[in-house]
């Protein structure tokens, strides 16, 4: 139902368009600043935040290092508890497994809890092709689904929609929406409650993801706010959970770390309203766990990039990112937007498209994302590493090679500087052709008549004398405007 990101243009083009949308910028600014403040307040309450963060990082690193062992343990424990475990190498395989499991129940409708993994593999579209309709039950996901739209934030997928738009959407697309529906958030939430309640009570099959899996006990953990998760996880007869293999934690005790890190980083609450934990087939249900690779093992193989797999999808990095705040989630062309998306998407999908190649550049490298990350993912370092791995245009490579040749020898640099100084009045303010990409958004620095090094030598600095203050003409402030 919702569209796909295939064929989207590169990040700069998307971002340039997004920043023109004043409504979007207003929504994003308000939202990100609100959550940012709440997060800072509840994180500040815990004196041991730094230690929790350190432990969170180490637990994830340890799990990833021993992932094969813990996955096998998880499989064993889930099977012992009456569940069935399936393994999926890629999106297509996962989708086939889920479609088959749903068909075996004889049902043609399923309810879904918000899940990044199923969004990533395009499960809803795959099920639709098999004649199975999937109903998203998270309010924001419902808004995205009804609007045939893309999510734009990990936690608040419909962050780009305002109340008036949501009201319009509900009136147009939601069966049974009251004609006199107002745009009050309370009224809109109530309309969704009524619309979905019947679906919950009738649904025989539910599909979820999970925030954590505990290898030691075979337990799955889902954190949520609305109660749609509890509905989906408890009411239907059959429950299918599609979970990325990196969501694993070794021990039950490890939850004491992550149940503190995640809610505080994510919604800025001491605890989210509801967390469900279950082990295998529970209260008479049939339970299937689909373990999903879909590119994760290739991320794991990258020494620098593998830390992205520590991510617990809290979205704190989105909320502090100056680029995300202005460009919005859609610009990233992936279900994973923001700084984490900029390092995860190119690694999961590869850098074959211009969009995926442009993502490592969707950052000013300010480092705010690293600072707030509850599992200390050094996003700036991964971005820089990915930039090195991305394919670069031939002209850029030639330019860099030329610059390298000049800078490599001081004599070459001095010659180039003298030449530049003589030609300085001829240098245009805007560069021509493909180079205009640089000067469209930046001023070219003024070239001084005399380079610092030449001035230093002329004033005898090299002979141990103390040069006088350089003539004004040599200072950068002296611009060509004069």
């Amino acid at each position: 139902m919702s569209g796909t990101f295939v064929g989207m243009p590169a990040f700069p083009k998307n971002a340039a368009k997004a920043v023109q949308n004043s409504q979007l910028r207003f929504n994003l600014r308000k939202a990100t600043h609100t959550i940012r403040g709440k997060r800072a307040a509840v994180v500040g309450e815990l004196d041991d935040w730094a230690e929790l963060r350190e432990a969170g990082k180490a637990i994830k690193d340890h799990t990833l290092r021993n992932l094969d062992r813990y996955l096998l343990q998880m499989e064993e424990k889930v099977t012992e508890a009456g569940g069935t475990v399936h393994w999926a190498r890629d999106a297509a395989e996962a989708n086939r497994i889920v479609a088959r499991l749903v068909k075996e129940t004889g049902e043609t409708e399923v309810v879904k809890v918000k899940s990044m993994a199923t969004m990533e593999i395009g499960l809803n579209e795959a099920l639709a092709e098999e004649g199975i309709e999937a109903f998203e039950t998270d309010l924001a996901e419902l808004i995205v689904q009804l609007g045939d739209d893309f999510p734009s934030h990990i936690l608040v997928p419909a962050i780009h929609r305002n109340r008036a738009e949501i009201r319009e959407l509900f009136l147009k697309k939601m069966a049974g929406a009251p004609k006199d529906l107002t745009d009050e958030p309370r009224a809109l939430a109530e309309a969704a409650r009524l619309y979905l309640r019947q679906r919950f009570l009738e649904a025989k099959v539910a599909i979820s993801g999970a925030n954590f899996m505990i290898a030691e006990t075979g337990t799955l953990v889902v954190l949520e706010s609305e109660g749609n998760g509890r509905m989906c996880l408890t009411l239907p007869k059959t429950l299918i959970s599609v979970v990325g293999i990196e969501k694993l934690l070794p021990a039950w005790q490890d939850l004491e770390v992550f149940l503190q890190l995640l809610p505080r980083s994510s919604t800025g609450e001491r605890m989210n309203p509801y967390t469900s934990m279950w082990t295998g087939a529970t209260e008479g249900q049939e339970f299937h766990l689909v373990l999903l690779d879909n590119g994760r093992t290739s991320v794991l193989a990258d020494k620098v990039g593998r830390q992205a797999l520590r991510c617990i999808r809290c979205s704190a990095c989105l909320n502090v990112c100056p680029v995300y705040e202005r460009a919005g989630g859609h610009s990233y062309g992936s279900v994973y937007p923001g700084p984490i998306g900029a390092i995860l998407t190119p690694q999961l999908r590869g850098m074959d498209t211009p969009l995926d190649r442009s993502l490592p550049y969707a950052s000013s490298l300010c480092g705010a994302c690293y600072e707030v990350c509850p599992v200390a993912i050094d996003i700036p370092s991964v971005l820089v590493d990915l930039r090195g791995k991305a394919r670069h245009p031939r002209t850029e490579k030639a330019g860099m090679a030329a610059a390298g040749w000049v800078f490599n020898r001081s004599k070459r640099l001095a010659k180039a500087q003298r030449f530049g100084g003589r030609m300085r009045r001829l240098v245009p303010k805007r560069l021509p052709g493909p180079l205009s990409g640089w000067t469209d958004t930046r001023d070219l620095p003024d070239i001084p008549a005399e380079s610092f090094r030449d001035w230093w030598v002329r004033e005898g600095g090299a002979d141990g004398r103390r040069p006088a203050v350089p003539p004004v003409g040599n200072l950068p402030q002296e611009s060509r405007k004069k």
């Binding site: 180490a58 395989e93 998270d138 009411l235 004491e256």
Partner: protein, 188 residues
């Protein structure tokens, strides 16, 4: 097919992490204390979620519940102490339950489907949930709760009423879960 996928994924993992350094887990954070939790802090933190909280001596629990419900019929899960509230006939509009553990620092109540708590859906479908928490069930923090709970049981952690902030980040209480959460804390 699945067996092949399993082998392929395991093989990919093993070759991906080959030679990677082991990570040592240091737990420098505050762990489980084993001490009782602070009743007042718990009450305050639950109120922060806009839930209604009553703190009463154990002997007054029945009277408090009677006053709160005012003759209104609530569903009663099996094993709920009958001297606190006895099920009445007819249509119910809400549910009353006990809990397994409560966390002072986060204002969280944990249900584990034990006596007086019912199956998970029982405290989910009704629009009103009244939960009785005994003082000795309150622990200081999250690590204490994890230490006390049994992972083999179905667990539901509840922190305030159901809520969403999906529309322009305005908090709306009550989407699919109970819109009203009321908590009676029995002291002593």
């Amino acid at each position: 097919m699945s067996a092949a996928a399993r082998e392929v994924i395991l093989r990919r993992i093993r070759s991906a992490v080959e030679g990677a350094p082991e990570a040592e887990i240091v737990r420098g954070y505050r762990g489980a204390t084993g001490e009782p939790g602070d009743v007042e802090l718990f009450a305050e933190r639950v109120r922060d979620y806009r839930a209604v909280v009553h703190v009463v001596p154990r002997a007054e629990v029945a009277a408090t519940i009677a006053e709160i419900t005012g003759g209104r019929a609530l569903a009663v899960p099996e094993g709920f102490p009958s001297h606190w509230y006895a099920p009445s006939e007819g249509e119910t509009d809400g549910v009353i339950s006990t809990c397994a553990v409560a966390i002072a620092e986060t204002g969280t109540i944990v249900l584990d489907a034990g006596p007086g708590q019912g199956a998970r859906a029982q405290t989910l479908i009704p629009d009103y949930h009244l939960c009785v928490v005994r003082e000795d069930q309150i622990v200081p923090n999250v690590p204490d709760a994890i230490a006390r709970l049994d992972a083999a049981r179905p667990l539901t952690w509840i922190s305030g009423p159901s809520a969403t902030s999906d529309i322009e980040l305005n908090r709306v209480e009550g989407v699919h879960g109970p819109r009203t959460l009321e908590v009676v804390i029995a002291t002593g």
